[in-house]
């Protein structure tokens, strides 16, 4: 039997990316796609693509490639939850607003249903259909709306207390965009990302490439 939890982490990330690319193909009316076409879009090898699809048990057609629609649906069955997942954004500053704009309407199974802030000017407003609540009501709203994932975009100084409040409220996953790493119990899945790390990595390899010459 296909054991989802044994799928490599990297495969999960790539499946999300494949689907993103496949959705564009579908829109353009493309019905089939070869592994090497997916590979070229994602800057990886065709073998890698085929192996990932093998891992999720999808079989293409020889010489025709993979059925775009079918593959999108299968990836959905693998990585999405049947019942969808409600998401909240904590901290309606620049980044929080940018994310709400970006996500709104993008993925049907991931719904941003609430945002939170401490600034009274923001509380009570609605942005792209997402209402902003006071952080004081966080636990109540999270439970009422069955929010399972929180995206943290508060100032770094508030990262720790925000994570604690989210855990307290029974959140199941946190995506932390503040540059302050936070601690959560092991049953809460945590993903952290700092844009400065990415930029420093790019800068490092630019340096290396220049030195090579």
């Amino acid at each position: 039997m296909l054991e989802l939890k044994n799928l490599p982490h990297k495969t999960i990330e790539r499946l999300s990316q494949y689907r993103r690319a496949l959705l564009i193909c579908l829109e353009k009316g493309q019905t089939h796609i070869y592994s090497h076409e997916i590979a070229r879009i994602q800057h990886i090898t065709a073998v890698q693509v085929r192996r990932d699809l093998m891992l999720i048990g999808y079989t293409g057609t020889l010489r025709k490639g993979y059925n775009v629609k079918e593959l999108i649906d299968l990836i959905g069955e693998i990585i999405d939850s049947q019942e969808g997942i409600n998401v909240a954004i904590i901290g309606m500053g620049n980044l929080g607003r940018a994310l709400i704009n970006y996500f709104s309407g993008k993925r049907s199974h991931l719904k941003i249903v609430a945002s939170f802030d401490i600034n009274p000017d923001k509380i009570g407003n609605t942005m792209s259909g997402v209402p902003c609540f006071s952080t004081e009501d966080m636990e109540k709203v999270i439970r009422e709306k069955n929010i399972r994932v929180g995206i943290m975009t508060v100032p770094a100084d508030f990262a720790t207390q925000t994570a604690e409040a989210l855990v307290q409220a029974g959140i199941r996953g946190i995506l932390n965009y503040t540059p302050k790493p936070v601690n959560v119990p092991k049953e809460v899945y945590l993903e952290e990302y700092d844009m400065i790390t990415s930029l420093e990595k790019v800068a490092f390899y630019v340096k290396i490439n220049e030195d090579k010459k």
Copy 2:
């Protein structure tokens, strides 16, 4: 001799993260730190930390741990360029503005010195000290200001043409925040990041954790 280009990619990322944490320690007046303290902050093991530091040839003091100041400086010597790197942001929308705010004054060796847009309302403005130019002048400005890294935050439909223009202008590294993967010649270092992939990954592991019960 220490061969920088042989450092594992993951080590580079972690070095950036270690430094971020160390800078906070330094601010607090902490002079030394143990490998297990760094490890706990980053949610990794102490061995991993020691191994990374071994790879860059840094030696701590037995029982005192690592000298915070020294380690910050050494990481700088490894991952920063001597002369600093000038950076541009292309697309001054929500995300572009958020990034400029976030980066400004954060890292002395990475300087955002220009932004670009096609919207006449934005061209000519300055944000956090960063002037906004027309994309028509991109090649000229990039060469004049010796900009080597570009951060793409334009709408996805303009991703391809923006990447081409950057390459044309002689850029050396691109950090692509649009959800559209782009192609660049191999001498240009490319890093792509899509927030939806991160969110879908969190959602997937939340699902898996719930199924386990």
